[in-house]
Amino acid sequence: MSKIEVKNVYKIFGDSPSKVLPMVQDGASKEEILEKTGHTVGLDNVSITIEEGETFVCMGLSGSGKSTLIRHINRLIDPTSGEIMVEGTNVMSLDKKNLIEFRRHKMSMVFQRFGLFPHKTVLENVGYGLEVQGQKPEERNKVAMEKIEAVGLNGFEHQYPNQLSGGMQQRVGLARALATNTDIMLMDEAFSALDPLIRSDMQKQLIDLQSKLKKTIVFITHDLDESLRLGDHIGILNGGKLVQVGTPIDIIMNPADDYVKAFVKDVNRARVIKAKIIMIPANKTNGIDKSNLIKVEEDQFLEEFLPQVVCNNANCEVVDKSGNIKGYITNKELQSSLTKS
C-alpha cells in the first residue's frame, strides 16, 4: 500500500465547477475553459503515488497548480472530482471531526512565507500542533524544546518570530512541523523565500533530518536544482497537468516534452548525477584501461571527482562504502552523460 495516493483529481475554481468538469474531462484546454465559462482549471486529471519514507518533489512554475495539489492532500482545498487516499483512508470521506483528528496526527505542513503566529513566541509556535491537540503546557514545551534544539535554534525560544531572520523563521516552521511527530510532512515552497546561501543550508539540514527520521515528504518547489537535490521522485506540473513523474536522472536524461526539456536545459548535470548512475558494471568492463585509476565512491556526484579525472587523464573505479568494486567510468560515459541533448 502506498502512503499517499492521488487518483484522477480535478480542481476547477469558479462559481459552478461541477458544470464545467465534463468539458475539462473531454480535454478542453485551460485557456478555452477560461474564455468560455470564466472558470480556472487548477488541476487536470492528476494522479500520483507516493511511497512511505520517500521525498516526492512536485515541481512547476507559478500557476501550474502545485500549491493547489499539496493542499488537497490535507484537504485545505476540496477537489472537484477525484480521490485522495492517505494510508488507505479516503480523505474525502472524513467528516469535520475526523478531518481535524486526521490533520492533527497524520500530517504537518511547512509554508512558503512561514505561516508563523506573530503573537506567539518561538516555543509557543513550535508547540502549537500539540496545543490544539490539548496537551498540557509542560509536556508540549518539553517536546517543543527538543525540536528547537534539533533545528539549531537553542536560546531563541522566547523570542517572537519577527525578531528572527528569514532562515531562522523557517527553522521554526520546520520545528513546528516536526513537533507533532507525524509520518507525513507537506512542504509548500518551504525554502523559496530564503536567499540562496541560507536555502542550500536548509536543504542540507532537511536531508540530514530526513536520513534520521525517514518521513514521507511532499515538497513543492519551482527550483529544479532544489528538486534534484531533495527528491527521490519528481513530478512536473504544467498548467494543472502532470507532465512527467520520475527519478531525478529520468527527468534529466529523458525529458518527456519540450516543457521539461526547457526546464532541464540549464541544469548543471555534474552536480546532480551520481557515479553509480553512469558507471559500467564491473562484470562488463572488458577492454578498459585499468592502469591509471581514480577511486570514487558510488554516491559521489560527478563534479566532486571531475577535476581529478581531467588533471590525471584517468579512468574511475567506482566502489561502495565497504570498498568493493562496483564498476568503472571512462571518458566516454562522462562525455555522454554531460552532453546536453
Binding site: 485545505l76 492533527r104 503573537h119 491537540q133
Partner: protein, 339 residues
C-alpha cells in the same frame, strides 16, 4: 439555468415595483385619482406635475407599527430601560459621591496600567481630568454623568458589536445582509431615532445610550470585520493544517491578531459616543452637553466655548486611554524587530 437566473432578478424587481404602484393607487384618496382607472391612459395631464395618487403610503403603517410596538412590547422596553437606568444611576451616584481627588487618582491609575506604564500619557490625562473641574466647578458632576453614559454606551457597543463583526467576517451572507443596515445606521439623521427613543424610554440617559449605540456601533463592527479578514491567510491555513478547530483558530489566532484593529474600532466608537452625547442633550439628557446647549440658547459664546473645551478634554482623556491600550496590545502581538 444560468440565463434564467440573470432574467429572474430584474423580473422580481419589476413585479415588486408594479405591486408598489398598485398599492399606492389603491390607497390614494378618491379625490386625488381619476374616477376610472383607464382614464390614466386617455388623459396624460398627470405626467406634468407629480400626481397625488402616486404617493406610497409609508407614514401611516410606520406610525401604527410603532404604536403597536409600544403597546405589545412595552414591558420589554421598560425592562431594558430599568436595567440601563439602574446601571447608569448606580455608576453615576458612586462616582459623584467620591471626593474629586480620588476620582482623578482612579483615572490616573486606569491610564497608567492601560497604557503599559507610560508616564507621558498618564501625566497628560491627569492634567486633562483636573482641568475639567478647573474650567468650572459645575462641570465636574456633569462630566461624570456624560462619562457614565459614554461608558455604558460603549460597553453595549462592545458586547453587541464585536460578535457581530466576527460573524460578518466569517460569513459572506451575514456581511451582505448587514452592510446596508450599517450604512442606514450611519446615515439616518440622529433625530429620527432620538424621538422614538424618547417615546420608548422616556427622557433622560437611556435614549441617549440607545442613540450612542445606533450611531457608534457601525465603525466598531466594520473594523472588527476588517481586522479579522485582514489576518494573513497563510497563518490561518497553518492553524487549520495542524488540526485546529474553527473555535481554536478564532480564539487562538484570528482574534489576537485582529486586536489592534478592534481596539481602533473601540477608539472610534468612544469618539462618536462623545459626539452623540452633545446632540442627546437636546432631548434632555443631563451632562456636559447641556452646558453647550444653554450657552447657545442664551447666545453666550464664552459659556458655549468653555463647555466645548471641556468636551474636547473629555475626548482627549478617552482617546488617550483607548489608543494607548491599543498600542500596548499591538506591541505585544507585533513585536518590532530589534536591530
Amino acid at each position: 439555468m444560468q440565463k434564467y437566473k440573470k432574467i429572474l432578478k430584474p423580473f422580481i424587481y419589476s413585479v415588486v415595483f408594479i405591486f408598489l404602484i398598485i398599492i399606492s393607487y389603491r390607497s390614494a384618496k378618491p379625490r386625488y385619482k381619476p374616477e376610472n382607472f383607464t382614464d390614466i391612459f386617455n388623459d396624460f395631464s398627470w405626467l406634468g406635475n407629480w400626481p397625488k395618487w402616486l404617493d406610497f403610503p409609508l407614514m401611516q403603517p410606520l406610525n401604527s407599527g410603532f404604536d403597536w410596538l409600544i403597546v405589545e412590547y412595552g414591558l420589554f422596553f421598560e425592562g431594558i430601560n430599568n436595567f440601563l437606568l439602574g446601571l447608569y444611576t448606580s455608576m453615576k451616584n458612586s462616582l459623584v459621591g467620591l471626593p474629586w481627588p480620588i476620582v482623578i487618582a482612579l483615572v490616573v491609575l486606569i491610564t497608567y496600567f492601560a497604557s503599559g506604564r507610560k508616564t507621558n500619557t498618564t501625566v497628560m490625562v491627569a492634567f486633562c481630568t483636573f482641568f475639567l473641574g478647573f474650567l468650572s466647578p459645575r462641570y465636574w458632576d456633569k462630566c461624570i454623568m456624560t462619562t457614565c453614559i459614554v461608558v455604558i454606551g460603549m460597553l453595549l457597543c462592545i458586547v453587541v458589536g464585536i460578535p457581530i463583526g466576527i460573524a460578518m467576517a466569517r460569513n459572506k451572507k451575514v456581511r451582505n445582509a448587514l452592510l446596508p443596515i450599517l450604512d442606514l445606521m450611519q446615515t439616518i439623521p440622529s433625530f429620527c431615532y432620538l424621538i422614538p427613543g424618547i417615546l420608548l424610554f422616556g427622557l433622560g440617559a437611556v435614549p441617549a445610550i440607545i442613540a450612542i449605540f445606533v450611531y457608534a456601533v457601525p465603525p466598531l463592527i466594520r473594523l472588527t470585520d476588517l481586522g479579522i479578514r485582514l489576518v494573513d491567510k497563510e497563518v490561518i491555513e497553518a492553524s487549520e493544517a495542524f488540526g485546529a478547530s474553527k473555535k481554536q483558530t478564532l480564539w487562538g489566532v484570528q482574534i489576537p491578531l485582529a486586536l489592534p484593529n478592534i481596539m481602533q474600532g473601540v477608539n472610534q466608537c468612544t469618539m462618536m459616543s462623545l459626539a452623540m452625547v452633545v446632540i442627546a442633550s437636546m432631548i434632555g439628557t443631563r451632562g456636559i452637553g447641556d452646558e453647550v446647549l444653554l450657552g447657545l440658547q442664551q447666545l453666550n459664546v464664552g459659556m458655549a466655548t468653555e463647555a466645548g473645551i471641556a468636551i474636547v478634554l473629555l475626548a482627549i482623556i478617552f482617546d488617550r486611554i483607548t489608543q494607548s491600550y491599543g498600542e500596548k496590545i499591538q506591541e505585544r502581538t507585533q513585536q518590532k524587530k530589534k536591530i
